[in-house]
Amino acid sequence: MANWIPLWLHKLSSPPVFYRFAGTLRPWAIALALVLGIVAMYGGLVLAPPDYQQGNDYRIIFIHVPSAWMSLFIYAVMGIAAFIALVWRIKLAEVVAMASAPIGAAFTFITLVTGSLWGARMWGTWWTWDARLTSELVLLFLYLGVIALYHSFEDRRQGARTAGFLALIGVVNVPIVHFSVNWWNTLHQGSTIRLLGPSTIASSMLWPLLTMMAATKFYYFASLFGRVRADLLALESGKDWVRQIAENEVRR
């Protein structure tokens, strides 16, 4: 009775099934990302009180922190998908890994830019060679390396597997970024939000942050689904199900 989950997952890894699945979920993900994003923006920029030390400048964390979380989360997703692609040779996993890379790179870039904007006001410098900043920069280079390696192959699938291997090598960096503020005594502040135990952040500031985190997650899924659908169509362009979709488009 309980084996419907593996069966369903197995079915989902077939490109036409995933294409339809992603097509159904994508509008919902976009809508949720928009609504949650607007609510979080209102909560963070209007409702939350100014910080007693940083005034209104701290409000950039409502973009910075969720982006930083996403930059690591997406790398982890990419690493897991690349591992699945290399071990079980599932085509969908290759596509998911490679479609994640540009989104993750964008979030990493946003993290670095917002961080340096905040740093210019608070630390008095745009950039400092601090452990967390440097490791986040290395993360950006890893993303760019994966993207560049993927595009340097003529055969998409081979490029995806090769770039996936590079992504797996780079997974070493994810814990380094995450724990850098604990391992080294850095300028960057430690984390104030904990899964276990009480967070050291006021709840009026916490809820917009968590809402924004959910919004970025939904945005990631919406963007990922769109990219995966387009890639699947390109990859399977000779197959029957793609031809059927094309014919339906023409008829309409």
Partner: protein
């Protein structure tokens, strides 16, 4: 039943090593290029920063380290190129001996042919930038541990780009993030030595990383090559 005509593992390793070293020696001009490159880059620093001795002494260790790294990056591209072009790498992949071991030998040969000349010339580079003589043994030790580490990491990445046409810039983009820790520890040891502080801890870290890489990198290199060339 053992086949007596099949060469043993040690024999095969030596054969690969001897072949690669002979090939490198026959093209001595290519071996000299990274050394010339390092000399030119080092001689550019005094022009760019001004010839003040105090300033040069402060940047000398780091400048030599980065110069050697870039010179190695220049030569890295060629590690498997001729073998892919003439098909001998595919023969190596089909050979009964474990591919990882054979690739390890190829990386060793590449290190002997490109990094050792750079290490030999490193005291001269350091002297050009007025590095204090007591620091030079530490520099050599750091380079002796850091360059094989770079060769091993580079070998994995070269294997990944084996199936592509243009790989020079790509290799730099991929290698530079991975070699950040190597540079940090090597530079840490040199900075400590220059200040007269104990420098053994970062050197020990480099050694530990090298041991790890010697075990894992050839395996990763073999896996990467099988992925990149399988079509």
């Amino acid at each position: 039943m053992t086949d007596t005509r099949r060469p043993g593992l040690g024999h095969a390793c030596m054969a690969v090593l001897r072949r690669d070293l002979t090939l490198a020696w026959r093209q001595r001009g290519d071996m000299v290029l990274p050394v010339l490159y390092a000399l030119i880059v080092t001689s550019l620093f005094p022009f760019a920063l001004g010839p003040e001795e105090a300033l040069l002494r402060r940047i000398a260790a780091g400048a030599v380290l980065v110069t050697v790294l870039l010179a190695m990056l220049l030569a890295l591209d060629a590690m498997f190129r001729s073998d892919i072009e003439d098909g001998s790498l595919e023969q190596l992949m089909l050979a009964p001996q474990p591919l990882a071991l054979m690739l390890g030998m190829k990386i060793l040969a590449h290190w002997l042919a490109t990094a050792v000349p750079l290490i030999v010339i490193a005291p001269l580079l350091a002297g050009m930038l007025h590095l204090p003589p007591p620091v030079i043994p530490v520099l050599l030790l750091a380079l002796l541990l850091a360059t094989p580490l770079l060769s091993l990491l580079g070998g994995v990445l070269v294997a990944l780009t084996a199936g592509t046409r243009r790989s020079g810039m790509l290799l730099a983009l991929m290698l530079l993030p991975l070699c950040v820790p190597v540079v940090i520890f090597a530079a840490g040891a040199l900075a400590a030595a220059q200040e007269g502080l104990p420098w053994i801890a970062p050197i020990a870290w480099l050694g530990a990383a090298l041991v790890l890489a010697v075990v894992l990198a050839p395996l990763a290199c073999a896996a990467a090559l099988r992925i990149a060339l399988d079509s």
